[in-house]
Symmetry: C4
Subunit: 231 residues, 4 copies
């Protein structure tokens, strides 16, 4: 198993999952009221589409930044990568649940318990994805598996960073049990944060050891315009 | 993040989005009238399929022409690329809306307001895609990010070209608010124009600076048969 | 536009289209009679799945054999390739039509006219795909576009070969207007023929000029086990 | 046909098939009882998703391990590969059948005969996939087609290994005819076994001749962390 085919298969799953999100965008169609009302009553579908799209996009970026540092591909890594993809593939399902139950809740055709459960599942899928990514990162801390390993004395600092990313989803999960809309806002803010976040976190992927990329954070190691693209 | 994986992920999204268009081609099936009548009353589905297929195909060609000039891949570019893909993924949804409401309108089972709104959304998605592509082009005008940058004195000429492409979709959007079929014809004509257009626009991608590829226009820099293909 | 991204995008479309065929395999589910009866009454769905799967698989093989001979990629070729893919994407739709109307016809819930029309459309989509592939082949006959061009004096012999492939689908189309099951058998036989056909047709792709690969025929230029795979 | 495009197309099919599994995860939605009950009554959907996801993931790993040893790609191989993919594409359909009929059976809305048939089909699809993979392995035993061929005197030992993999699915198929849940457990155990199995089986792919990778088993040849990844 070489790195390139790991990337090709993962890219395929990311691309299909991100595109399948569109299947959750549906309206009942002609004969079910004016289109403008159908669309406006389904605004949670569009909000959930936006959030899930960027979450998958961000994790794709991070996946690549991390994978390109690997000098080793072993059986455990492939299994950890499958766990990550398992949750990525679940995102369109969880997005659809949130879209449907949030819309129904706002239209008073579904109770608050259901929408809170849907939002908790949505948080859980993102949490699982975050933990799957953390698992791959943990794998890089052992053996001589990456080009620029994090030195042992900084392992815990790196793990804390990762824990932070996952804890944000744990927070969303807990909030979801009490208030679905608040949890939705938190999940949206996490995505926005990772789009704009700009820390030295990517140095691990770049050469300077000791700072892992944050889980779910964008590609920091190309903020310098003169990086030559690889091939 | 190297250029090749940006291409691989984008190609995956383009390929899945263009193929998902087929899911909008459905008939009610046996027991819902003769098949010939079902198909003929759904001609807008087939027209919308054709248009959307070629629009995605053309934007894919342009995406590649532009991307292959990049010597830098940074965080901002990845975000801009995600914005472009966000609208590409919406195309099957907007295509389905137009297909459904245009068919219903022609069968007098849906009002004119709904079909005009559907067509306006269809125009808006294409406009968003066009602006997303323009954003990536704007990115190439700054720093030393492409192999053959447009010289500063020609930036505005280049931007005007791009504005032209987006303005055509703005026109379709405005017309859609008054006459859905006229807007449909305009969108179809834009696609046909870009299929056959043959300008020196691709020189920027080729080496001669100063002329960007038009947004949504086909690959002009391979009109000379003796270009050697890359690998 | 280099050859590799043309291949990547086309491969993506082929892979998605071939996998979307599975969406036509559905049963009504629990509460709609015994599963064994649901499955057996839908045998045309499985037969159509098998045929369409191998037709897409074969055309994918031929596409690659032809594309790897290109030394030039121009705008016209990209357009012709989009026309080919346009019909490939339609295959899951046409397959679904045949599956549904053939099953309904056998269950006496749909008339013979509908199933004949569905089969005619199925034949037409394959004919369009065959013509799209012939268009790409015709493109290779002009200019210096391929590594081993067919010499001019053999152009017509090559075209006749291609015409033969398309004529088989024309025959299926004409027969479909009179007898859907006979046309179904013809289409199946064409697929079987191309799976087992073993002619010197691939020499054009291999080095010896003058013999184009037959449209829809498998990859003949690797019958010799000692061919070194490319990279 | 070179090896790289065989991999690209196969990777595309694997990635789409594994992602389409998510389409089987649906709930009836608002107005059909509490979400928690809908989800809990559909636990077989989630169990089947998990199993099918890992089975496809494992076969993808093995496919790559075997393919990268090929020094030859011929027509027969392409046909055998299509047979393997034919069954891979069927997995989402068979997974959906099991999910639906197992859930209905547990809710006493469907008889035991139907769920046993669904489980038998599920086993059969996996068996077909296993045999398709065995066919590709058998192809490697003849001619000089792989880098490190299994020596003739060990062919039968290698085949026995493969037969073992397929026999496990035959067992599941036979058990399914009597007890669907027991067969489900067996199929789950086969997947778990292959995730954790750690034998010298991958030596054939690595250089030491004579031990083929087990069908469906993970990538054993990268258990040594210092393997350099290929490109």
């Amino acid at each position: 198993m070489d790195r390139s085919r790991l990337e090709a298969f993962s890219d395929g799953v990311f691309a299909v999952a991100i595109t399948l999100l569109v299947l959750n965008l549906t309206v009942a169609g002609p004969g079910h009221g004016e289109l403008i009302h159908q669309l406006s009553s389904h605004w949670p579908s569009f909000a959930a589409y936006l959030i899930s799209f960027f979450v998958i996009g961000i994790i794709w970026v991070n996946h690549h930044v991390l994978v390109k540092t690997f000098v080793v591909v072993n059986r455990l890594l492939l299994f950890l990568n499958l766990v990550l993809l398992l949750f990525v593939v679940l995102i369109p399902f969880a997005t659809g649940l949130v879209a449907e139950y949030m819309s129904a809740y706002l239209a008073h055709t579904s109770g608050g318990g259901d929408v809170r459960l849907a939002m908790a599942l949505y948080s859980t899928v993102f949490l699982g994805m975050s933990l799957g990514f953390a698992g791959i990162f943990e794998w890089t801390l052992h053996g001589e598996r990456v080009a620029n390993p994090v030195p042992p004395e900084r392992h815990w600092a790196a793990r804390v960073r990762f824990t932070g990313g996952s804890l944000a989803y744990v927070l969303a999960l807990v909030v979801a049990l009490f208030n679905a809309i608040a949890a939705f806002v938190i999940i949206a803010l996490i995505a926005v944060y990772y789009i704009f976040e700009n820390t030295p976190a990517s140095s691990a992927a770049h050469g300077a050891p000791g700072e892992p990329p944050a889980p779910g954070s964008p590609d920091h190691d190309h903020d310098h315009d003169h990086d030559a693209p690889g091939t």
